[in-house]
Symmetry: C2
Amino acid sequence: MKLHEAATAPNCRRVRIFLAEKGIDVPVVPVDLGQAENRQEPFRQKNPMGRVPVLELDDGTFIAESVAICRYFEQFQPEPVLMGGSDPEEAARIEMWQRRMELEIALPIMQVFRNTHPYFADRIDQYPDYGEGQRSHATKRLEWLDKELADREFVAGDAYTIADITAQIGIDFGRVTKFKVTEETPNLLRWHQAVSARPSAKA
Amino acid sequence: MKLHEAATAPNCRRVRIFLAEKGIDVPVVPVDLGQAENRQEPFRQKNPMGRVPVLELDDGTFIAESVAICRYFEQFQPEPVLMGGSDPEEAARIEMWQRRMELEIALPIMQVFRNTHPYFADRIDQYPDYGEGQRSHATKRLEWLDKELADREFVAGDAYTIADITAQIGIDFGRVTKFKVTEETPNLLRWHQAVSARPSAKA
């Protein structure tokens, strides 16, 4: 088993943190995003979308999409529970929060980067106005998340889950585009300090 | 148990098709999107994101996010398998394809609508150039999906799964913004005719 990934990509960090929390060690094959290795052959045979990370199983199967890779390991080794076990309500609650963190926070923050940062200027069509709109959207959602976290320790409830990981990698990636968690959102700050203090945060 | 939803919203149709395939009947409470009922109290207590669908459980718990609602029913009644059972590789493969259909096809098609259609002109900030960029992105991905479907019957393999449902609701919603599956993409057309002929398509 091998994980094809890049140190700087937030979706790769999501898988690294997930694996660290599970205590699973997977050999890594670095993909050079700077040289656009992900957008060319032979990488495109692993994932035609040209995105990292990709998990290569021993039988040669490729699993792309960071959350799908996490799902593989969740079922492979259920403990500690990060995506929900056999209880339908728990699994649905975690998935609801995972999706909110992804679609309302991590993805908008990544869109700010893609649409406004010089790194992507020569790589994709950028829409800076849309990027700034996504900044405003993510900022409002972070203020909302701050209020949600007044009542509980973690994003999806009393236990740490993949929803925390997704929020964490989104928010931390936002540093490049000037997102910062401050005392203006005290509950979010407390949560952010807690997840950042876990050993997995270094992954 | 009740499903708060709207007939015209593609994410609501995703849940309706999923339930029809499972043979599960859930009473529906209509939400009036035209009157923006979803963006006001008391609906926002059910889902602070202001989006449909929302599943209300008998204990008063609200589950938002269409895929999280599907997850609830998948674990509640595993057969027929639509999201993957206990085999880690199967579950990860289905989730990979579900996410590709969502992030690369359904979501871009919804972004075309949100950013270019008069319906949203007074409701949100629109970025028409971004919307047209998403049209081009989705069109390329549909051409890629056509090639993928040359080798197999359904999106994630030989069996019908949630990945087919997500592609179906995305593509069908695209009619409003002039997406059409034609003989230029013959494998996609064959697949689209097959999923459209299933009784669940009427849901």
